[in-house]
């Protein structure tokens, strides 16, 4: 509270009565034009009240004379963006997948468009940038492919999905649960042999027995040398990349009761242009064949 209002000796102006460490505040009157500027801003705000949505009521607000709304503005801006993209999208629609990379601008557009669609639809499982996720969500940036890494193969996978029952053309394969077929010991032998395919030989392993079991039961799908088979989505076993983990117990677990990943068919959900752009993007992540 102001305590002692007095007249300042030097300037002749009254003080406000406020004092801090001996410094007193002068009550210098504000210039009138400053007040008028303040009134002008109030008048200006009234103009806004009339022109733009302003006064809220329970459901909505006054619409304003101009009829402007942020929602309409967004719709307009989206339409403008779509119109600006139309030319490129049309070109993508009319160009063969393999030919898109011939046109640098179109290729860049497809990659950026694919990236946007990827981050919206795919990154939840496959990770941003195709970094993959533990537990069976494949890395898309490496050079290992379950169902093939050519443009065509990626496109088919995207279009029809994997083990997606709603799509009759979906990619499908299932590994039998060898826990019902092999004994525990046999499963261990096979796991040891699988590890040896990528140069890891566990101590005291009976590779002979494992090799026989592998050749009779597994090689049909995974290949004699464990090279995998894209047509069946059978993973390559002689490399450094493991979908469900490369430790011995993880391999044992996968042989005993295999897990299978599921991916939705995007053909019906995304339009053809977007699927094409996604294909280009995934193919360009670093492992495209």
């Amino acid at each position: 509270m102001p305590t002692k209002i007095e007249k300042d000796a030097v300037t002749g102006t009254e003080t406000t009565g406020h004092e801090w460490d001996g410094i007193k505040e002068l009550n210098t009157p504000l210039p009138k034009w400053w007040l008028y500027v303040f009134y002008a801003t109030i008048a200006w705000s009234l103009v806004y009240f009339v022109l733009y949505p302003a006064i809220p009521y329970l459901s909505g607000a006054t619409e304003g004379v101009l009829g402007w709304s942020s929602r309409e503005q967004v719709v307009k801006q989206l339409a403008e963006a779509e119109a600006a993209q139309a030319e490129y999208l049309e070109a993508i629609g009319g160009t063969e997948l393999a030919a898109i990379s011939d046109d640098a601008t179109l290729f860049e557009f497809a990659r950026r468009g694919g990236e946007a669609a990827f981050n919206e639809n795919c990154a939840q499982c496959h990770g941003v940038g195709g970094a993959g996720n533990p537990g069976g969500f494949p890395v898309l940036a490496d050079d290992v492919w379950l169902w093939g890494g050519t443009l065509e193969a990626i496109h088919t996978t995207l279009q029809h999905g994997i083990r997606w029952n709603d799509d009759p053309e979906t990619r499908f394969s299932e590994m039998p649960p060898y826990g019902d077929i092999f004994s525990r010991e046999e499963i261990g032998q096979v796991a040891d042999y699988v590890l040896s395919l990528s140069g890891q030989v566990p101590e005291g392993a009976d590779l002979e027995a494992g090799a026989t079991l592998f050749a009779d039961n597994c090689a049909a799908c995974h290949g004699e040398q464990g090279g995998g088979m894209n047509e069946l989505g059978a993973p390559r076993l002689n490399d450094a990349v493991w979908l469900y983990g490369g430790q011995r117990e993880e391999i044992v677990s996968q042989i005993t009761r295999p897990r299978h990943g599921v991916m939705p068919a995007w053909g019906g959900r995304l339009d053809e242009d977007t699927v094409k752009m996604l294909t280009i993007y995934v193919h360009s992540l670093g492992g495209g064949e």
Binding site: G129, V139, A240, G286
Partner: protein, 515 residues
């Protein structure tokens, strides 16, 4: 020999305010008791808002007025002529010497071309401006305010027009007091018309720094200029007209922050516009034969010429005030009077606080110290910043490289166990020619690069950057698992121009698994 000096009928803004307040108090007191107006309870009748007291500066001539005209001519000349200077930069580049090209994100200043990435040059300029301002202020007071500030220059120009149309101080006061007449309306209309025209030219010239000047003028004349051009010209026309025509000293007193803290740069050796109290007092009107014995009185004859010419309406004899813009016109006015009454000049002059104190105590004039810790510090700072900027400019690379390590994924394990990292490499080619470079990767034995969309791969890859643009490449580096030890490993990209030998290096990291 001394001419008759007529005292001006003038009061400073402060005196006028005081008089108004007393009038009101007297009226309030008169209505009540007849006793001597009792001091109204403080805090009650203090007005919250003050009417503006209009200032009618009188014409003055002298050294500082001439200096001010010279500064005004020079500064306006620079402002209006610089956009017309041409500078050949070759094809596909604007040929205006000074241009801020917003649409293509370039700023040109003669031989210098600044990219948005180099906006630190602007920061440097602002620092130089601030330090320069501090230096000048600590040496000679508010030189900027008095001579160079656009507000001062344009207000001066607008006042000159006002004087031309409406006459000098007394004529203007008379005109304002007159009832409405054809002559009054005519003069006012003429004044505001010229003001608006000048404001328009000011606003128009400002746009020339952002658009090619001849093209802009052609577009304006044929009314083909874009809406935004008209909008900005309108904006600057309005602000110039309002600030220089109407607001004037109110800008300095109420809007500008600089007068509020400029006193912090002053010390007792700063040259400031000062009334020599020791010499002027006791002041009084000069009456022939009555009080013209100069040994018994001060030199100030209270003619108020200094108040009449002041563009901010203050009385310099009241001492240092934040309203004082140090334009020194009161010095001119006073010297004029001193010459007429045959007294030495510079009763008001540029002087130091130290000398004032010495003179009042009857001591000899102390030596003026230009070199003080304060001025030396500001000067060194100024030179230092200027040197750094100049060095930066002289050794500015015409090529630059930026490398961004991919964050998703940080690294990828490939089928044979190799580790691969992705990088986005941006090459900034600041020349007007297409340039071919060789990009090398160092710090990791056995590592090879692959460029997305390009056939090249290996330890060195050729890359191309189009003229005056940024080339972006996605580059993937793979290295044998045995070489990748630890989570991160410092590596570097080297970009070489095989023709000129120019090389820039960018340090980055290569990431791998923990074990």
């Amino acid at each position: 020999m001394a001419e008759q000096v007529v005292a001006e009928d003038v009061a400073s803004v402060r005196e006028q305010r005081e008089a108004l307040k007393q009038q009101e108090q007297a009226r309030a007191g008169g209505a009540g008791a007849e006793t001597t107006a009792p001091a109204a309870a403080p805090g009650r009748d203090q007005p919250l808002y003050a009417d503006r007291v209009k200032v009618y500066p009188r014409k003055v001539s002298g050294t500082f007025r001439r200096l001010k005209w010279a500064a005004l001519g020079l500064l306006l000349g620079i402002y209006y002529l610089v956009p017309w200077i041409r500078w050949d930069r070759g094809p596909n580049a604007p040929d205006q010497a000074v241009l801020i090209d917003m649409p293509s994100r370039r700023a040109y200043f003669f031989f210098i071309e600044i990219w948005p990435q180099e906006v630190y040059y602007l920061t440097g300029l602002l620092i130089l401006g601030a330090v320069g301002l501090f230096l000048v202020t600590s040496v000679a007071g508010r030189v900027w305010c008095g001579y160079a500030c656009p507000q001062t220059v344009w207000t001066d120009l607008f006042m000159w027009v006002e004087r031309l149309v409406e006459g000098d101080r007394n004529a203007r006061i008379r005109l304002d007091r007159q009832p409405l007449s054809a002559e009054k309306v005519g003069r006012k209309a003429a004044k505001h018309g010229i003001w608006l025209l000048m404001a328009f030219l000011t606003g128009g010239a400002w746009i020339m720094y952002f658009k090619d000047a001849p093209t802009l003028v052609a577009e304006l004349v044929t009314f083909e200029a874009s809406q935004s051009v008209w909008l900005f010209i309108g904006l600057f026309t309005a602000t110039t007209y309002l600030l220089a025509g109407w607001a004037r000293e109110q800008v300095c007193t109420y809007m500008c922050p600089w007068p509020r803290f400029q006193a912090a740069m002053f010390d007792e050796d700063t040259l400031i516009v000062t009334y020599q109290r020791w010499r002027g007092e006791p002041r009084g009107k000069l009456k022939k034969g009555e009080n013209d014995d100069w040994s018994k009185r001060g030199d100030c004859i209270d003619c108020k010429a200094c108040v009449a010419v002041c563009p901010t309406g203050i009385d310099i004899r009241d001492g240092q005030q934040l309203e004082c813009i140090s334009c020194a016109l009161c010095i001119d006015a006073c010297n004029d009077v001193m010459a007429k009454i045959g007294r030495p000049p510079n009763l008001i002059g540029y002087d130091t606080e130290a000398n004032q104190i010495a003179q009042e105590q009857g001591k000899p004039r102390p030596r003026w110290k230009l070199l003080r810790i304060r001025t030396l510090f500001y000067a060194l700072l100024f030179v230092g910043v200027a040197a750094v900027m100049l060095g930066q400019l002289l050794f500015r690379d015409t090529l630059d490289i930026n490398v961004l390590h991919d964050r998703n994924p940080l690294f990828v394990t490939l089928s044979n166990g190799d580790i691969r990292n992705g990088y986005t490499v941006k090459l900034l080619n600041k020349t007007r020619e297409r340039r071919a470079f060789v990009l090398g990767f160092e710090g990791l034995p056995g590592a090879t690069m692959e460029v997305l969309g390009e056939p090249a791969q290996g330890q060195r890859v050729p890359l191309v950057a189009e003229p005056d643009s940024v080339a972006t490449y996605d580059i993937q580096v793979r290295a044998p698992r045995s070489q990748v030890t630890g989570e991160t490993r410092p590596v570097s990209f080297t970009l070489t121009d095989p023709d000129s030998g120019e090389t820039v290096v960018y340090d980055s990291v290569f990431r791998g698994p923990e074990r």
